[in-house]
């Protein structure tokens, strides 16, 4: 991890930027390569899941104005939307937490603090994954019959 930062700092200032590569160098092997690949694969899927979610819930019709308990109850009658929301939950969390790890790598230099910050985000992410998963799959509106 620290090597990454070192390489970045050691990049010669005068090197022409019009070369064959743009942006962040692809990691050579191991965990960082899989992380790199995951960000792109999940990114493509999130392109549909997240952008679709945002357009449906926030943009079309009257957007979030129409979202209330009844709206969710009706929407989650369909296993399709439950699956969509659960997949979005999982991918967005892992994509986001891994993104934070990359940001932390750039700004938190001291290994102990870096580890602590990464662990904090990982614990938050895992807790939210559990909470979201339980709710998406156990929610049953008939627990609150309309009176």
């Amino acid at each position: 991890m620290a090597v990454d930062t070192q390489e970045h700092a050691a990049e010669p200032a005068g090197r022409p930027r019009t070369g064959r590569r743009a942006g962040r160098e692809r990691p050579g092997a191991g965990f960082e390569l899989w992380s790199w690949l995951f960000m792109r694969v999940s990114g493509v899927v999130l392109l549909f899941l997240a952008v679709g979610h945002v357009l449906i819930m926030h943009v079309i019709d009257t957007g979030v104005s129409r979202v209330d308990f009844e709206f969710v109850a009706l929407r989650w009658e369909s296993p399709f939307w439950r699956t969509w929301d659960w997949a979005l939950l999982v991918l967005a969390l892992v994509h986001g937490i891994n993104g934070l790890r990359i940001v932390v790598q750039d700004y938190v230099r001291w290994p102990g603090v870096r580890f602590a910050v990464n662990m904090l985000f990982a614990v938050i992410g895992f807790s939210l994954f559990v909470l979201g998963t339980v709710i998406v799959f156990t929610f049953d509106p008939s627990d609150w019959p309309v009176t």
Partner: protein, 133 residues
């Protein structure tokens, strides 16, 4: 002789990609921080209509809906710029066309934000000013 562009105003001598790199990072962090809150507020649906409707009432407030417009913009920017990054990653020769591709992604972002701002802004104005757009 005129000064070279790099001598005048830029913050540091990177490529134009420095700005999309920065925006990608800011929008990404903003989205994940919002997601932390959003998973919790959605989970409240499991505590019944009274609890959940109290939560969604917050999102119906017009000031919060202005922030929501920012969130939609962040997601859209991150998505479109993410595609741009993947184009450069998986088709390295496209890096030679970095400028037109960056321009195209910016145009696509701004172009799609125009109708979205209208659709969401209409509702915000109706709420805030009691209009009927």
């Amino acid at each position: 002789m005129a000064k070279r562009k790099s001598d005048i105003g830029t913050l540091y001598k990177g490529s134009p990609g420095q700005w999309s790199w920065l925006l990608h990072r800011i929008t990404g962090v903003a989205i994940i921080l919002f997601l932390f809150a959003h998973v919790v507020d959605t989970a409240v649906v499991g505590w019944g209509p009274d609890a959940y409707n109290r939560v969604t009432e917050v999102y119906h407030n017009w000031v919060v809906r202005v922030l929501e417009l920012g969130l939609v913009a962040a997601v859209l920017y991150h998505a479109i710029n993410g595609v741009k990054i993947m184009v450069f990653d998986f088709w390295p020769s496209s890096a030679r066309k970095m400028k037109p591709i960056s321009l195209a992604s910016t145009v696509l972002f701004i172009g799609s934000m125009i109708p979205i701002t209208w659709l969401m802004g209409r509702d915000i104005l109706n709420l805030a000013l009691g209009w009927d757009l």
